[in-house]
Subunit: 201 residues, 4 copies
DNA sequence: AATGAATGAGATTTCATTCAT
DNA sequence: GATGAATGAAATCTCATTCAT
């Protein structure tokens, strides 16, 4: 009898819950969380967007924080293993996909909310990390490891710092106000992999 | 060397501003902005921390957003040109300094707030970018350009993507929950500069 | 004579409204509006007088202006058709009733608030006009028209200016600091109807 | 050693006050009082409009109420004895002038403010009555008395109720939303004087 | 005298949460 | 389970007034 999140209410007996409402609530929450941030998002707005009453939300999630955490837990970062190609292209596709996620639907603001709320509600960053950050890193790491195993990268390559550098460069560009383009993605890959790494294979 | 008009003439009419209050207000604002985020920061708390009344704050900054923007505008990212050393060490010192800024005083949460508020109050990110992000990037870029000019980096090196990769890696590590250490800084530098770049000079 | 659908079906879902609160809110608003004027009336005072929380008021009326307008809309000027008598007496009763409304419960101050707020919140005067001014005028006009039709007033009499003169005289007296008495009401009627109009019928 | 208003500060010794400022303050006060009402008028706005500082206002008038009362005390209702003509025309000119005063510069709202504030600040209505209401009534009464003395009105005519009816009709029309026109002024006079009073002389 | 600075005391409005059907 | 009603606890911003030159 364990609970994944102790503020998440469980329904066990009695009338079953209207099934579509759960998803509507979480979708609305995620959208508003990104658009307005955690603090500015109101339960009234979530209820309106989801087409339910506020009390219904509280029936499922005891607090606003629990609701937000659950919504982040519902994130599904498509692992999107990019179709094979040479390594540079493969990595650039990864970065383009990441940049797209950042710019569509206020993805960068969503990251910002999780970071901003960390001192107050660390569960947000925890869920975001587990469901969005780490899966994406894993996909990118797998690509790098495959490349290393087939000799396209030096055998001594440690993939984690490379993952951080590649993905971090995209968000650092956003923070600096530098627009992301397919060309900039390739430039990032080139800068990180270094000129000595041959572009083929 | 005397005043052209009248030395006894006060610079401005009326009661002079209580000195130090301006700084106290901005300092308190910045601290609370980082600790609690823009939305959760209250003017009451700022006033209490700064030792002034709320009305005094409003006298100088018409709105909460203006206050926050001014506080961010007061950020002074010390350019900290690290003392000379071999390039890897020089860059690692840069990254350590950046990591220190991120972890002390909730620097990462401060970035998060600016990102989270961007859809609603873009001035925050704008000021943060100008006064914190770009100065740090400039310092790091200067280091890279000096290295390129003395031959420690290939002549064709484009510094901007390298800056993004190096600084971005630090924040990406934080986002992924990877602790920063002096060793991890060196690993990041090694990964980004590549093995082909000699570690000396 | 049964319900078409289902008698057990509640009229509306959710918790039913606490009965009487609506009336308590509007009554308190009207009283405070008259006593203190729109600008000086506070929602706190209304809530206290009505025995509800401020938020409950805001639940029903989005803004203070909407609340005040609704309260004025609830005014019910009893048409008070005075019992038959000779015309002079009938009109004097009208004026006495109007004077009573002006002096009891700060009626004159209520008019003043509506006039004072007109540049800023014209809805107040609009509602007051529709629910208090025009009904009273209509009642008085009806009296005059009946008198004209039975020959107690010349056939060519235009009732509207007479209505304005009769009612206006009462408020003009108040503005001038002249106390209203039954005698002064008769004097007003006599002055307006003129000596040539016989006092009987 | 009497003071006309005990909140009005008197300057007796020391540096004389800048003379033009007094008038600027009172003019600005009167204009804002009419435009916004007493409660909504802010001393900041008065100070800005008058080109002085708030503290300067408080130097002369201890409270906001004293300032408003003083401004109303400065009202000068031009007695405007209308040029001779037949009585109906003479009175209609009076009414037109009054209506003009009501509609220009928010005169009706100014009356409203004085009435609305009467429970809280009776000095406003008192000053307004003395400096605006009574002078106008006196001018109109004089006209009526002259007419009575020359036989254009019955010898037994009591002028006060007529004054109230004539002036009151104009404000009652405003309250009812009836526009004032020169024609409506004549209709009012005709209604009040009655058909039996000949229109000539 | 005149003025800019400073402030205490609110006022309106918002919102997460609980209640009563 | 679902919902509308109700509310306590703020939060931002305003303003008349006083203070220190």
């Amino acid at each position: 009898m364990r609970s994944t999140d102790n503020d998440r209410c469980r329904a066990t007996a009695g009338r079953p819950r209207c099934p579509g409402k759960q998803a509507a609530i979480l979708d609305a929450t995620l959208a508003l969380l990104a658009q307005q941030g955690f603090a500015r998002m109101t339960l009234d707005a979530v209820a309106r967007a989801a087409g339910v009453s506020k009390a219904t939300i509280h029936l499922r999630y005891r607090t606003k924080a629990a609701l937000a955490a659950a919504a982040l837990g519902g994130l599904r970062t498509c692992a999107t293993p990019p179709p094979a190609a040479d390594l540079h292209t493969e990595l650039a596709i990864h970065l383009d996909d990441f940049a797209h996620a950042l710019h569509s639907n206020h993805g960068m603001a969503l990251i910002g909310t999780c970071l901003a709320e960390e001192p107050h509600t660390p569960a947000l960053l925890r869920h975001f990390r587990e469901h969005a950050v780490l899966p994406r890193r894993a996909a990118l790491r797998a690509t790098l490891e495959r490349a290393r195993d087939r000799g396209a990268l030096p055998a001594c390559t440690d993939p984690e710092p490379l993952v951080s550098a590649l993905l971090g460069a995209v968000s650092a560009d956003h923070l600096a106000g530098r627009a992301h383009t397919p060309d900039s993605a390739r430039a990032t890959v080139r800068a990180v992999l270094g000129l000595c790494v041959s572009d083929d294979r």
